[in-house]
Amino acid sequence: MRRFAVLFEALDRTASTSAKRDAMAAYFRNAPPEDAAWAVYVLGGGKLKRTATSTELRLALAAETGYADWLIDDCYAHVGDLAETVALMLPAPEETADDTPLHVWMETRLPSLGKLESIERMDVLRQWWHALPRDQLFLVNKLLTGSLRVGVSHRLVVQAIAQWSSLPTDLIAHRLTGTWKPGAAAFEALAGPERDDEHAGERPYPFFLASPLEHDVASLGESKDWLAEWKWDGIRAQLMRRDGGALIWSRGEERLDGRFPEIERAALELPDGCVLDGEILAWAFDSDKPLPFAALQKRIGKLKPGPKLLADTPVRLMVYDVLEFGGNDLREQPLHRRRATLEALVAGHGPTLMLSPAVTAEHWEALTTVRTESRERQTEGLMLKRLDSPYRVGRKRGDWWKWKVDPYTVDAVLLYAQPGHGRRSGLFTDYTFGVWDGDALVPVAKAYSGLDDDEIGRLDRWIRAHTVDRFGPVRSVEPTHVFELAFEAIQASGRHKAGVAVRFPRILRWRTDLAIRDADKLDDLRRLATG
């Protein structure tokens, strides 16, 4: 794995995307294909099924170093990365020659841990630690505990493969979607010439992703050139009707087999050789709008939903695009043509496959007015899609915009903080905020993002100097600072102390102008939850 460790270091040592792309392309050119295949997999964010728990890693580290558990936990909180903590705490071995290839680690060694009892597993781990140079030790632990996170996106890996193979990035992206299985042949096939049957089988198309509209809607030109739809708050999915069956892929390129049987069943009535793009929504039979996202969450977790859940929380696929029809790839066609095909296709297919209606308005101003109904309709705002645009790959700006309604906001008090991870390791960046319930502050939201580096630094120093109590890595602070938080939705929740749960909370700004008595009340939040 030495060669991969060298690549990792090169990627870690530069912030330049072009340098990263060049380093990966050079690696793909020179590495044995059976290793390069796994490099594609892990750099693109792929993980192995977890074979050892972080507790086991910590216990093995304690056994290896003789340090107390609390000291190991302190170090981990400071470093913010368990794999790195292990590498830093173990003595560097004298001379080590271990160069077990990456594919052997991924296919044999790491999976073999899963078959062992916990005690044996820690023994094997410690034997590996003894034999590995520090950089490889770090990587093995990373591969064991999660993803690599080296500032490389899936898209950048795709670009590097395209650079190495001299093929278009969209083709590479498509070849990597779905359950791409790493292996020498699969890696070499990535660079092979384009075939007629590229679109066959179970491989989904790469999703086209919208960008947030951050400028005035009028800057998009004439409203008649655009299709407006509601922005549904569900799970983005691709429904494939091929080879006599039906398959659903999530946007995370996970197969959702069996989770949504009503959609799979409805899909079988579609003609073979078609692929639809849409949103899975929980939707009661007699309702004119979807159920809140929390209802859908009950379904997401269930591999095989039982009859009661199916009856209480039925789902629908709100379809908004057709990517393949009659076995032909339609993605290059303009949206208005695809839309016509789609309308004909889903007409008469009952409510389970439902066409996402066009939201029509005379002009932008009228549309702006309609948009104010978003929340009532249980949507997040509007989508704007250019009528003559193709279906693109990934997040390309210009043709698809999400025009969300303004988020809810609340003024809340900082109560707890704990150190962040990765880039924010060693800094207190994970915050818990509370609002007033009578004369007590109760926690209502955790937020990690929204402050700039200066503010994070200032708040970090303040937290260290004003810690009232500690619970492991978590510090409670004197209630002093008020922050304005934004969130997308609020729901009643039995699992949260405050009785409500907010969705996607983030910090809008540090309200240095407010004192803690000016923070909002839990009752205000409860009112929003019922609305």
């Binding site: 870690d12 040592r13 530069t14 912030a15 170093t65 340090y67 107390a68 609390w70 000291l71 302190d74 170090c75 400071h78 470093v79 913010g80 990365d81 790195e84 903590t85 830093l88 705490m89 500032g151 991870h421 990765g422 880039r423 924010r424 390791s425 060693g426 800094l427 580096d453 120093r461 260290r464 100097a465």
Partner: protein, 340 residues
């Protein structure tokens, strides 16, 4: 009583028996200053006692008009009811530990120190004592410094890579101590000229006057307008990162030399391309070694987040406490980012 010898006060660490302060933050009548870093040597006091080896730097820092008495390492002198001597701490040129003997006790205040070899200063001398006040900037076992020759190998490889890519190599590090140590270490392996940010010039000169051999240096400000720094090594304090001064070094590869670079997240957060683990503070093994070497019955820990070190020392049979527990009201928290 320990507190007859040492008592934290708002001005700084005070010795009642000798009536003087160590590294006071505010002006006082009598100050003993351990080393010339800005968070330890502050101007305005009436009289300073310092180690002779660092007199040039102290003059630079405290001003030409300050009244300074300098003492050779190991030389004994009297302050009130106490006998004092200064002993090398290996931190930077002229850095000293303060040994205080009085009321039947010997206390040693380490100031900042390290145990790793450094060609620019006299190595740390373990001083037997009853009470040891130690720093703990890097008081966690994840901090174990790599051997300097390995870091220099890494740095030279980086310079070669920058030369190949025809970009400047800008190395950020503290202007006092770290810069000179790196220039001295590099001098054994290279004879190139290094370009310096203005803030480093006089400090490097002070080291040269003290007889420290370093690579030849040149002020960036004295280079011709439009000079191409491709393949050159430029050294600057961290405050220059992201400043307009950096515009001269388009496309530069940037590095930071600091103990904090041991942790990957710390480097990524600061946005440097390369981190070099070089510290003038003791690492974890160095802290424990020093506690053992001085044989003190009681250890006081100063400097930031010393809690892990204190708890570890206690669990391994030492009487260790935070310095702030020694009565008084001073906060012993300095911004540890500064002190490296």
């Amino acid at each position: 009583m320990d507190s007859d010898l040492l008592l934290p006060r708002p001005e700084g660490l005070y010795c009642p028996a000798g009536d003087f302060f160590i590294d006071p933050m505010l002006p006082v009548p009598r100050a003993v200053v351990t080393h010339a870093h800005g968070d330890h040597a502050r101007s305005g006091s009436e009289l300073y006692h310092v180690a002779s080896a660092g007199i040039g730097l102290m003059r630079e820092r405290l001003g030409a008009t300050a009244t300074i008495r300098d003492h050779a390492y190991g030389e004994s002198f009297t302050m009130g009811d106490t006998r004092l001597s200064l002993h090398p701490s290996g931190h930077v040129l002229g850095a000293a530990q303060v040994r205080i003997e009085g009321r039947g006790l010997v206390a040693v205040v380490s100031g900042d120190y390290k145990r790793d070899p450094d060609p620019t200063c006299v190595p740390f001398e373990p001083v037997p004592c009853d009470v040891f006040v130690t720093e703990s900037t890097f008081g966690l076992p994840i901090y174990r410094w790599p051997p300097m020759h390995a870091v220099i190998d890494d740095m030279l490889a980086w310079l070669e890579e920058c030369a190949e890519r025809a970009v400047p190599a800008v190395l950020f590090c503290y202007a006092l101590g770290k810069a000179q140590r790196i220039l001295a270490e590099l001098a054994a392996r290279s004879d190139r000229t290094v370009h310096l940010h203005g803030a480093m010039l006089r400090l490097v000169e002070a080291y040269r006057e003290a007889g420290v051999r370093m690579l030849p240096t040149q002020a960036v400000s004295e280079s011709a307008r439009g000079k191409d720094f491709a393949g050159e090594l430029v050294m600057a304090p961290p405050s220059a990162a992201g400043s307009p001064w950096m515009r001269r070094f388009a496309k530069a590869s940037t590095g930071f030399a600091s103990g904090w670079m041991q942790v990957r997240g710390a480097r990524r957060r600061r946005g440097y391309d390369r981190g070099f683990v070089v510290s003038d503070h003791a690492d974890w093994p160095g802290l424990l070694q020093s506690v053992r070497d001085c044989g003190a019955k009681r250890i006081y820990v100063t400097h930031g987040d010393g809690e892990a070190l204190i708890r570890h020392l206690r669990e391994t049979g030492h009487d260790a406490r935070p310095l702030r527990s020694l009565g008084g009201t001073v906060s012993d928290v300095r911004d540890s980012e500064e002190g490296d």
